[in-house]
Amino acid sequence: MSKINSNLYYKFTQRRNINNVIFTIIAITFTLISLIPLLLVLTYVLIKGGSQLNFQLFTNLPEPPGYDLNTAGGIGNAILGTVIVTFIGALISIPIGVGGGIYLSEFSKNGYFSKFIRFGTNVLAGVPSIIAGVFVYGIIVSTRIFNGASFSALAGGIALSILMIPTIIKTTDEGLKLVPNDLRKGSLGVGASKFTTITQITLPAAFEPISTGILLSIARAAGETAPLVFTALFSFYWSDNINSILEPIASLSVLIYNFALEPYESQNSLAWAASFILVLSILILSILSKLSSNKKQFK
């Protein structure tokens, strides 16, 4: 009998074992490289933006570039503007998104129409945000459809809502699908109508995933710039009455864009301060939405 020429002990010098270690090291390196940008961006925003924080930042108006070389004013109207425009976007997209999601999950029979809508939702989610801006410019800004207003907060809000709708539809659809069918059958069984079943039973049961989706879409919309650049434009004044929604409005993101490209240092540091506020609020919104989705449900 010939002697078996190998043993079963682990030998590091074998090619397969060396490869194993090498690939593990490569994966670790790639992971570290992927984390660097986040850490760097956050650090710079925290340091460069955080150092600008003061009370005037929230109460003052930004000053036009070159007006005063020492200070660029505050970002009060931009903070307010971001809230207003995002609010308009949410006001439009929440009913449409939740309604569309209810249709897909509760009414559709997986036919041709609902397949098309699901497909369309995915396609709409992939449409570049600047195209939403071009669309709104084409139908609202250039036609002056609202009372002759061209660039306006309303146009900006509508552009944002186009970006928010797909996210809300998808999360509503998926959230409602998680609701056990027993609940629906129970409700219909005691004689409730479909409308009552949905509004009293299914929607409340799926409240958490739906609110997660809404918060996520708001967080995303608040940081969007491209759809606002030529719909909401920018303003150096407060938007303080109801007519303001038909006038150009300031927003944090457009302020960062405009002021980052200015040659004046005071404008640049205002852009960093605005980034700090924007990033902080978006991170808080994202973490809030994570927390609401992490709660256990339907065990």
Binding site: F23, F30, I96, G99, F195, K290
Partner: protein, 316 residues
């Protein structure tokens, strides 16, 4: 339900208003759902109608002509189209290995789950940072930092047309890097999801016949999840093509065509962001034409991505 005088049960019928509410509710949600289709068609129609004037004037020559001159009213989008394709594919080339490597690392049990979850969450946080903030960071931090490296690249590889110009600040190369940062989270999270969906039995079988961790990954896990990964990569490509703000801020917005990635360039979305607000007349039409090209590019890629995920996915 009530009992009649004879002692029989009478079934309560739904009242008319109740039925109306039910029907009305259904029509409302059907209308809301169709809004998706209406918006999509609306976008295509508006952009198409807006570009008709320019389309009839320049035809398909618009796509290969690199002259964009509002003064002489002569428009061609080749510089922007080249920039869009170059930046998106180059950034994909860098982001794919990084993203898939990271996804593998956080799905394998090399380090404890808790740390891996934190890493996964951090990568997703990167996606939450607005693109305009990344652009600001790119202008003031990243670009000055990498400029010496780009200058060295120009010195040693300047004979190639891709590195033929001396870097002067904003340009295509920093735009590519910022795009890498923006699409990395997409690739990582979608790859992670598809790796997690591979049944544990496959992995155990591979380990059982003596495969090492990485031969299991390359020969079993990755092939099994390739459809999801490919779909994620295509989605990332679509996102890279449409990405606007960060690219606009760092690419230099030059409409002079060069092959070099070290010189300022342009992308379709940057062109739109820069000129749409102040454009009029035939320039708007030409911008709409460029927007149509971008829209169709991303549309085709997105539809292909969805088809791929559905057709190629293995069923277990």
């Amino acid at each position: 339900m009530s009992i009649s005088a004879k002692g029989e049960y009478i079934l309560k019928r739904r009242t008319r208003p109740e039925k109306l509410v039910d029907k009305g509710f259904k029509s409302i949600v059907v209308f809301f759902a169709s809004m998706v289709a209406i918006i999509l068609l609306g976008i295509l129609l508006v952009v198409f109608a807006g570009s008709l004037q320019s389309m009839s004037r320049y035809g398909l020559g618009f796509l290969v002509n690199s002259d964009w001159n509002p003064v002489t009213n002569s428009y061609g989008a080749f510089t922007a189209i080249y920039g869009t394709l170059l930046t998106s594919f180059a950034s994909l080339l860098i982001a794919i290995p990084l993203g898939i490597g990271t996804a593998i690392f956080i799905t394998e049990n090399i380090i404890p789950l808790k740390i891996r979850n934190i890493i996964g969450m951090m990568v997703e946080l990167l996606a939450a940072i607005p693109s305009v903030v990344l652009g600001l960071w790119a202008i003031f931090v990243m670009e000055p930092f990498i400029r010496p490296i780009l200058i060295i690249m120009h010195k040693f590889m300047g004979w190639m047309p891709f590195f033929g110009t001396r870097p002067v600040g904003p340009g295509i190369a920093p735009a590519i890097l910022i795009l890498v940062i923006m699409i990395l989270p997409i690739i990582t999270s979608i790859t992670k999801d598809s790796l997690n969906q591979v049944p544990i039995k496959l992995r155990e079988a591979a380990y059982g016949i003596g495969a090492t961790r990485w031969s299991t990954i390359f020969n079993v896990i990755l092939p099994a999840s390739i459809s999801g990964i490919a779909g994620g990569v295509l989605l990332a490509l679509g996102r890279a093509m449409g990405e606007t703000m960060a690219v606009t801020m760092i690419i230099g917005n030059s409409n002079n065509f060069t092959w070099s990635i070290l010189s300022p360039g342009n992308t379709i979305s940057a062109l739109l962001a820069n000129q749409f607000g102040e454009a009029d007349g035939s320039q708007v039409s030409s911008l709409m034409y460029a927007a149509l090209v971008l829209m169709l590019l991303t549309l085709v890629i997105n539809i292909f991505a969805q088809w791929m995920v559905r057709k190629l996915s293995l069923k277990y």
